[in-house]
Symmetry: D3
Subunit: 318 residues, 6 copies
Amino acid sequence: MALSLTMKGIFYAKVGDKIERYMLIRQSVRGIASNGKAFLTLRLSDDTGEIEAKLWGVSQEDESKYVGKTVVLVQGEVFDYRGRLQLKIASIRPANESDQVNLEDLVQSAPLQKRDMQETINQYIFDIQNANVQRLTRHLVKKYQEEFMEAPAATRNHHEFMSGLAYHVVSMLHLAKSIANLYPSLNTDLLYAGIILHDLGKVRELSGPIDTEYTIEGKLIGHISIIASEIHQAANELGIEGEEVMLLEHIVLSHHGKGEWGSPKPPLLREAEIIHYIDNLDAKMNMMDRALQKVEPGTFSERIMPLENRTFYRPKSM
Amino acid sequence: MALSLTMKGIFYAKVGDKIERYMLIRQSVRGIASNGKAFLTLRLSDDTGEIEAKLWGVSQEDESKYVGKTVVLVQGEVFDYRGRLQLKIASIRPANESDQVNLEDLVQSAPLQKRDMQETINQYIFDIQNANVQRLTRHLVKKYQEEFMEAPAATRNHHEFMSGLAYHVVSMLHLAKSIANLYPSLNTDLLYAGIILHDLGKVRELSGPIDTEYTIEGKLIGHISIIASEIHQAANELGIEGEEVMLLEHIVLSHHGKGEWGSPKPPLLREAEIIHYIDNLDAKMNMMDRALQKVEPGTFSERIMPLENRTFYRPKSM
Amino acid sequence: MALSLTMKGIFYAKVGDKIERYMLIRQSVRGIASNGKAFLTLRLSDDTGEIEAKLWGVSQEDESKYVGKTVVLVQGEVFDYRGRLQLKIASIRPANESDQVNLEDLVQSAPLQKRDMQETINQYIFDIQNANVQRLTRHLVKKYQEEFMEAPAATRNHHEFMSGLAYHVVSMLHLAKSIANLYPSLNTDLLYAGIILHDLGKVRELSGPIDTEYTIEGKLIGHISIIASEIHQAANELGIEGEEVMLLEHIVLSHHGKGEWGSPKPPLLREAEIIHYIDNLDAKMNMMDRALQKVEPGTFSERIMPLENRTFYRPKSM
Amino acid sequence: MALSLTMKGIFYAKVGDKIERYMLIRQSVRGIASNGKAFLTLRLSDDTGEIEAKLWGVSQEDESKYVGKTVVLVQGEVFDYRGRLQLKIASIRPANESDQVNLEDLVQSAPLQKRDMQETINQYIFDIQNANVQRLTRHLVKKYQEEFMEAPAATRNHHEFMSGLAYHVVSMLHLAKSIANLYPSLNTDLLYAGIILHDLGKVRELSGPIDTEYTIEGKLIGHISIIASEIHQAANELGIEGEEVMLLEHIVLSHHGKGEWGSPKPPLLREAEIIHYIDNLDAKMNMMDRALQKVEPGTFSERIMPLENRTFYRPKSM
Amino acid sequence: MALSLTMKGIFYAKVGDKIERYMLIRQSVRGIASNGKAFLTLRLSDDTGEIEAKLWGVSQEDESKYVGKTVVLVQGEVFDYRGRLQLKIASIRPANESDQVNLEDLVQSAPLQKRDMQETINQYIFDIQNANVQRLTRHLVKKYQEEFMEAPAATRNHHEFMSGLAYHVVSMLHLAKSIANLYPSLNTDLLYAGIILHDLGKVRELSGPIDTEYTIEGKLIGHISIIASEIHQAANELGIEGEEVMLLEHIVLSHHGKGEWGSPKPPLLREAEIIHYIDNLDAKMNMMDRALQKVEPGTFSERIMPLENRTFYRPKSM
Amino acid sequence: MALSLTMKGIFYAKVGDKIERYMLIRQSVRGIASNGKAFLTLRLSDDTGEIEAKLWGVSQEDESKYVGKTVVLVQGEVFDYRGRLQLKIASIRPANESDQVNLEDLVQSAPLQKRDMQETINQYIFDIQNANVQRLTRHLVKKYQEEFMEAPAATRNHHEFMSGLAYHVVSMLHLAKSIANLYPSLNTDLLYAGIILHDLGKVRELSGPIDTEYTIEGKLIGHISIIASEIHQAANELGIEGEEVMLLEHIVLSHHGKGEWGSPKPPLLREAEIIHYIDNLDAKMNMMDRALQKVEPGTFSERIMPLENRTFYRPKSM
């Protein structure tokens, strides 16, 4: 069975495609069908995206075999269920050692290597002139080094993949550098440190890169207040005083832009306003690119909820 | 000069009242009149409230004599200027030692003694069962003891007077106790500690009890994030771990109820929701009582801006 | 079959529970399945709550047997259907005389006895000092005595059970008494009469305690305007004149707080504002308590739509 | 002095116009100028409109002479004060008997005669087919006959003049008749009765045709609930039962269209929706016509606040 | 089989009705059922309305036989599926020549003849006094003559049928004439031309009268900007200069009333405001009439989404 | 008189500064003071900004001497009037030939030379690959060449100075180039052409670079619809067909982002979304820079209305 889909990944699947692939079960939920038999609703992923599938008429043995974080070999056909794609499973079996597939290969992750992103971020930290700002930033990045490099930027919508947070931060740093070149009134120390720290609280707000969920702390405190407290405490521990600490706290507190978007203070610093902007811009480009990648020239994408539910047009020739 | 106004205080002044009183200059701003002469706009207070006055045709000597925080003896008549009361000054002179008046006597303050309020608050802390919650609360109250007992609760609108914050906290504690009696599912430890801490960040957000202004830290960080970081740091210093710390942080973060009102998280705990409610209730009672105190039965109060600009009715007989 | 669920009631059911119980059919709706056969969607209740169930492949005889307000003995298993619980029916039969179950026992109702609530309300009426206010209140309570004691407070969300209205009124009266103790400017006559009357129009807005629906009058006029007209007419009949009538009318008209929430006037009386507050507070406590009662410590409740769709946290230890 | 302004009325005044006219003092408010002398702010009207004027340096005698509802002969010049016209008074004296001017002639009123409007309204009542609707409408019109024919429709914005309410009702009746001709599904009985009654509560909400203010009842209850209660009571007194009463109550309750505009129920009847529409249409035409009447072709009117603060264009040639 | 439904059309169908009718397949979408077999979801129409139907277990031959724009003879029963009607198909076959049915007869269209509507519109153009306005209007009507007379006014909600646009325009013209009779300040040239042109851009925004969809140009530019550019270009080609062109452009640009409803400018001309009003009024009457036509006296209609999701009441007797 | 202010320009003036400068009268409005004498309110500018001044007690000769667009030599002192700066005039006289000052030198204008900006824009046009897009852009830039290079970008808020539009466009082009480097999915042809054209309609919406006002066409049609029609017509004249025209029209129509901000369509193209973003970013940087330029380190700027009325902080050291 030599199917092109096997090559391109589930993200590119269309109605009618027949597939045979190793996939990862992200989540498995038991239901009872109208005929009284149990079935499983599976969320299956590869390194390009996800699809839902139903496994009908399962035995108790099946239920214990097809649980979350299991790698399976699955055959089936893609169809449309109420406007979203689903996979109709023809056959399925757990992968075994001889299949030689790793869970990590079936999870979507950032297009850059972790090591390269780490180096880029270190270089920007190195470029920070103000010693206090540099120390503080370096200290917090070190404290959460590993989680930072693996965390997704969100549970869904944009950069919702392994290392998505680091990838988002790297893109924002490059944008900030370009923009500061054009507007010399911007302070690059605040921009770089603010960008590197702004979402760092997500390493405690979210449960990790696979099957990402909000933690209890994430729901009750949120990444914005988590990182603000961390900056406060770090400055204390490092004996750093001075306005810089307050400015960095302000930048992370205000980076969602408005109270109704989760920021207890709106941006009141030029650099805070610009970081809020750059954050949005990079997230939007990511969402538009992903949505338009899936459609043919001359047609419209599916609706993108966080972009006011708009559907975007892919021109025929440009 | 036996004027009734002299007895009752400037808060009760009406158009046409003639007064002779010691008053405190809260603020003095220089202007130039259309005839080219300098004048001062004075905000004058006694222990019941404030009034604005113009001092026309001032010399340079006058300008240096009538500055903020000066006590003066002033004679004049109250009139209406574009819907608000002003004092037309007939004569004015700085008070001297022989007058025997203190600045403190000319500033509005809470109707309870600081010592009594301190005792009440300590009693409620004593009633907290959970040892961690009690220690944390006691620690932070001690850290800001003095400022807490003197701070106003706001720059204007409600409890905007000396010790207004402590007075507001005491009223809320009594309310919480009554309500918890009727709804046994509420945890009084969280209620009492949450109420005592919820606005404690105002000791750093506001500049103090006289001529209260927002500090730079107040504008950039805000009392909500200030106290959340303080709880975080205090738990660290005291070696307190456990869910309680996170619950208290959540309560202070959420006590404004919504993002657009300054809370980065909405209340997600029963006790957080109730504290938000009690906070509002006490503020509203304070505003309505003050507005209705000034008007005759059978008439309406002035508009109260933070109560959706409503004007309240004082019944004739009830 | 000795199942714990049989003891605790359907409100506490979890996925996988097997039950055998007498239940009341609240509503029965016929459908046609994809296999062309008729089925019934039943809403089944006991005295703790409700659950939905499908009865597949029904005959015409079944259809006439399993109609609304029938008591049945049902066996089955609870499962999850798109995030809500459903009952998979294993067997069902109508109850007969020998089963000795009453419809009334299978309907959720207030945790207090009607007689006790009636007495409490009478006591508060007795405490009203103003003769006009007392007579007017007593007159209207008498007029709708029976319906008042049986009516639910709503069709869903809070106090949506038999005698829910009276129970809600009693809680509010106790709250009002506590609060008036702390704020002596509040007039208890207006508070007590206002609370007793505020929702009395619901006896005509809603169809009664079982399978509650809006009446045509309820949809076109609404309980707020219904009771306002009733007060107007009662004052006429009793020959009562004076400001009190207008004040009571204002309180009932304004008790939803804002135009967009159904009040033609916002509260412009201290007591009107407080009644609006107490009304909300009691409704919210009722909703939060019911939602948190169902979940384990350390987890979040389901979303509560009228509380801005929030999900509440039940602490582990407090 | 033969000034064109004397002919055309104060509504048409422009900056620089010199006038000599009999005018009515609508309101007189005392102030104190920066030079310490008393002055009066007068609102002066004739039968076309109003203008503000200052009377500087007044004696106590002047103050008692130039009070509200006094007719005066005034000379002066019109000028611009912060974007609004004011009258600079050159001379002023109270009118005396030999002047032979009546207060009534100096008040703006509807362009139709009261008697004619009364007749028109009676004719429409006569055209109502349904006996109950007709009796109810006739009863209430009779009850408030005199006030109805004199009342303004508002304190400002539109139809804010003597008999403005009756004039507004007559225009709406004609509109309703035209529209019902085009849409035969509309019931003219409900339209005519609904229009005649919809604003009748204003006879108690407003203080009368001169210097119109809200009454206490107007502020606390409002014309919508006033007339709804009146319909309820009238039906009772006349022994009228049946759906018609409820439908008319619904129409008056819903005629502001939305909760935030003061209606406790939105229109849920075809006729209620159309009356809401016609009400708006006639008010808007009145406001646009008055604003455009004052400006030259090829220019824009002043901003009209209740029309979303828009400014309207008067074409050059059309 | 002599079924009343066959007479009255699918719009009037109720749960339980059995039908046998020629119908048009508007749309056919393939799905896969939980049993793994293919099925078709058909939207079927006659000249009164539409209904959805499922065709279970289809072969590949069926799939190619039952495609969009096919006329079929269908037998079945109407049932309720999640609150909306569906048709359960008992038998179906494509119509053949001997059946003698035309696709056109199975499409809903305006209650007036195209020729009559065309004549009416021409008469109104003839009544336009201003030569430029008349020429411009005539030119554009001619340019799109055929599409204008066939286009629907929308894809759903109101006038969403063959010739719906022309029918809507004719109703609006009659309304405008009546209203201009009552308000002589309105210019009928601008009213008539503005109404005829206001939605003409829909001939390019929508794909045509059957299975109406938005075109790419419709989504990216919209009918408002399309017709504004067309007026601009037409004036250029006809050599028409003068304010009239700008006024007509303004009317079409502003006819949705507000920015959030799609108009780049709010109405700033009396006639623009009135056209916006008339447009709404006619659309609302159309929606209310259609919804109430389907329900019994004494009951409420289904919810009408564009009328703020309201449900309307059909009185018992009036 | 060698005053530092004379050097730095009126934009930098502070309360108490004494100045002697040539300035341009932008606007002169006559008023009548409370003493009955005429006065002029003058808006005076130099090449850095504006200030208001009152000229008291003017003769008729003065009134004709001090009109708009007159250059004057003025001496005076800056003071605070209700929170805004005003100039108290000590002496004033019209400039004469021997003063050798030009009107142009007293008007604020862009910091780049017109010629340089023109060249930059031409270079970007040259870089457009698509021949149709390039021709269309070049054609429209040529058509309005001169006005484009002189027009301000707005009447107030940002880039409200001579050549402000061209300056804004140049900054946006540089930004677009940087961003497209980082996001290769963006089409630079659409970005460059879209940016150059997006505000070109302002040459007809606004009255020109001095005393900028909205034209009638500007108010009724607006720059967005003006340029959309121009693109449509230009494509017609140049015989250009193809999707590109529609895409450019969409970009200019959507560049305000939302209906309520004046765009009849939201951005539905990646490039349209980015142009909307860049437009905002450059406007915000311009407003923040201008506001912060005026204040000392460690203080807050005045409120900036179009930035949600925020006040921005200028850090002490960074």
